[in-house]
């Protein structure tokens, strides 16, 4: 049965032990094949939201469904269809790039041919070439990030959850990764949810965006729509105005 929504977030609340309210009842929907951006400053609740969607954290209340599967009730099903790239992620330093990719691919298939295709894909995505034969401990921060993005996309997940995918990358590599994300999303019909505090990146990449501030969703829509509503020339201005309006509500 085709799903109407790839991701459905309904009235999501997360209160940490100690009373910190990270998410204060947010709701949004993401269509299949859409590239959806979640933007907001540091501490807005982006990573908490991503972690709940990735089945790492349990919400205090509200529901999240990924391709119809409830993240709390059916986490195993959710993990089969998602691929999650944490904001601060690492890899096993004693492994070579190839070994790491192979290790990860084996969780998704036993078929040697499929594993080969995945690794070939990853090689193209990360653009690391022969450096994949080297131990990961010799990689720079940017190289590691490219390897991890490749790991997340090579399995062609139905939903990719990318937390700050270009963090730590220089301008050129960030652009390269953005193009790859776009290309893979379109080519394989991957629904992409990415978070970023780089508004320009999101504006370029995403079909739709949601602006998160202090645990609340203060605006949602296509970048052009939002720019029009807030009469702004880019998403940064949209964000600044949305935050200001919110304060006077």
């Amino acid at each position: 049965m085709p799903q109407e929504y790839a991701v459905l977030v309904d009235n999501l609340v997360k209160i940490y032990e100690g009373g910190i309210e990270a998410l204060k009842g947010i709701s949004f929907k993401v269509l299949p094949g859409e590239v959806f951006g979640i933007i907001g400053p540091n501490g807005a609740g982006k990573t908490t939201l991503m972690r709940i969607m990735a089945t790492l954290l349990k919400p205090t209340s509200g529901t999240v469904r990924i391709l119809g599967y409830d993240v709390v009730k059916e986490p195993e099903q959710v993990r089969k269809v998602i691929s999650y790239l944490p904001e601060e992620a690492g890899a096993y330093p004693s492994f070579t790039g190839f070994e790491y990719l192979e290790f990860m691919a084996k969780f998704y298939t036993d078929d040697k041919e499929e594993i080969k295709v995945m690794i070939e894909d990853a090689k193209r995505i990360c653009g690391l070439g022969d450096r994949l034969r080297d131990r990961i401990k010799s990689y720079s921060k940017g190289m590691l990030r490219r390897l991890l993005v490749a790991r997340a996309l090579m399995i062609r997940p139905r939903v990719a959850l990318l937390d700050e995918p270009t963090s730590g990358l220089d301008v050129l590599h960030a652009m390269y990764i953005r193009n790859i994300i776009r290309e893979y999303a379109k080519k394989f019909g991957i629904t992409v949810l990415l978070s970023s505090h780089n508004m320009l990146e999101v504006e370029y990449l995403c079909d739709r965006v949601a602006i998160l501030n202090k645990g609340q969703l203060i605006a949602e829509g296509r970048p052009e729509e939002l720019k029009e509503i807030y009469s702004a020339s880019n998403l940064e201005e949209v964000f600044a105005r949305a935050v200001t309006y919110e304060r006077f509500k």
Partner: protein
């Protein structure tokens, strides 16, 4: 299944690529022990070889028995005699003189007139070394054997009809030991020495195995956190229990390999020590002939107990290690477990637990590691009932710990951030 083997393979690959682990566990065990034993045998052999002992003699007596003594010394193999009229020439001599014997005036007269004679012996030390010490000790032992020779000689001269041995050593003690009603012509002290060795070696090696296993298991979770690989691992399409099992099996395999290397080195060391002491491995076969070694059933039960103890301690360590935020704190957690492994075992080595007051007894029996030594003892006594009881207790204990740990692993938040860590974060945010 393939996800599990993938995880186990990864754990093993990581550990065996860790130079700290490889050097610390395998190389040290396989190199240090043989090296120690080589050094030991070398030092023993070199003492044996270093052999020509030069003894300086200052003879103020010049009588029959001073000549007799000098002749005796000359007849001892590897002894060289240097004579001089005074001590100072000997101490400054270019020859490596180990000791100087001064035979005072009246030495022969005292002996012939049935009085006690005396000698002065000076050790000459040029540099401090163990060999030097042993060569001066051997001078004394040569003189002691001369004493015996002299006694025999005097007895023969004074009492020609008496066997000198009947006077010098009039009582011959022949020791025997009854074991379970059967007589063996072995002194009991030899038996106890051997028994103690097995009592100590088996629990000791097991303690070592447990310490490694606990360290590996406790740090394996923390290192996933430290390298920030845990979050990714937890979102893969594998169950929490598979991740847990992968770590459990990985740690167990590595602990077994590590301790095998350790044991190989250790046994080699022990064997060469025994060989040097000329006891030989015959003692082992002797023990088994005496029925003082575990039977096959005891061995199997003991093996099962070892595996259970290993599993329970690994899951305990995994459980505790999940709360640690860094490898360092995981190491201190495993350090906290170490006394629980060593103390009961050491305690049971010296104290009979069954004689202790009940509360203390219960506490000791509740600690799974206590049973390393109680089980070894029970196995040596072939007490099957006791062994089965221990096995049952350990199985229950392991099952409970495994259950708790598996539950803990399904509570992601507990693994992702320890409470302490989160509190610290919250304080920062405030």
């Amino acid at each position: 299944m393939s996800a599990l083997s993938n995880l186990v393979y990864k754990e093993l690959k990581e550990l065996f690529r860790d130079p700290k682990f490889v050097i610390g566990m395998i190389v040290v065990s396989l190199v240090i022990f043989p090296l120690l034993s080589k050094m030991f045998t070398y030092s023993i052999e070199s003492t044996k070889k270093a052999t020509t002992i030069t003894i300086g003699i200052v003879d103020f007596d010049k009588g029959y028995f001073s000549k007799n003594l000098k002749d005796y010394l000359k007849s001892v193999p590897n002894v060289k005699i240097v004579e001089s009229p005074n001590i100072s020439t000997l101490t400054n001599s270019s020859e490596e003189i180990s000791a100087i014997i001064v035979i005072p005036k009246g030495f022969s007269h005292n002996i012939t007139s049935n009085s006690r004679a005396y000698l002065r012996v000076f050790t000459v030390i040029r540099r401090f070394s163990l060999i030097q010490g042993s060569s001066s000790a051997s001078v004394i032992s040569i003189l002691n054997s001369y004493k015996r020779y002299l006694s025999t000689l005097l007895l023969k001269m004074n009492l020609p009809d008496v066997d000198p041995l009947a006077v010098l050593d009039p009582l011959l003690i022949q020791e025997g030991t009854f074991i379970k009603g059967e007589l063996f012509n072995i002194p009991s002290s030899t038996l106890f020495q051997l028994m103690t060795m097995y009592y100590v070696v088996i629990p000791y090696s097991m303690m070592f195995l447990l310490i490694i296993a606990i360290q590996i298991a406790a740090t394996s979770m923390a290192s996933e956190k430290e390298r920030k690989t845990l979050e990714t691992l937890l979102t893969l399409p594998i169950s929490r229990s598979t991740i847990f099992l992968g770590k459990l099996i990985g740690s167990a395999i590595v602990a077994l390999i590590g301790s095998a290397a350790y044991m190989a080195g250790f046994m080699y060391y022990m064997k060469s020590l025994i060989e040097v002491q000329a006891q030989g491995l015959a003692s082992y076969s002797m023990l088994s002939k005496l029925g003082l070694l575990p039977s096959k059933i005891s061995f199997i039960l003991l093996g099962a107990i070892v595996v259970m103890t290993l599993l329970s301690s690994i899951s305990l360590a995994l459980c505790l290690g999940s709360f640690a935020e860094s490898v360092q704190s995981a190491q201190s957690i495993s350090g906290m477990l170490a006394p629980f492994i060593f103390l009961p075992s050491l305690f049971t080595l010296f104290v009979d637990i069954s004689l202790l007051p009940l509360p203390l007894k219960l506490i000791l029996y509740a600690i799974p590691f206590t049973h390393i030594s109680t089980a070894t003892r029970a196995a040596l006594e072939n007490a099957y009932g006791k062994l089965i009881l221990i096995l049952l207790y350990l199985t229950t204990f392991t099952a409970i710990v495994l259950y708790i740990t598996a539950r803990l692993f399904s509570m992601e938040e507990k693994i992702l951030a320890s409470r302490l860590f989160r509190r610290r974060m919250l304080r920062k945010k405030r």
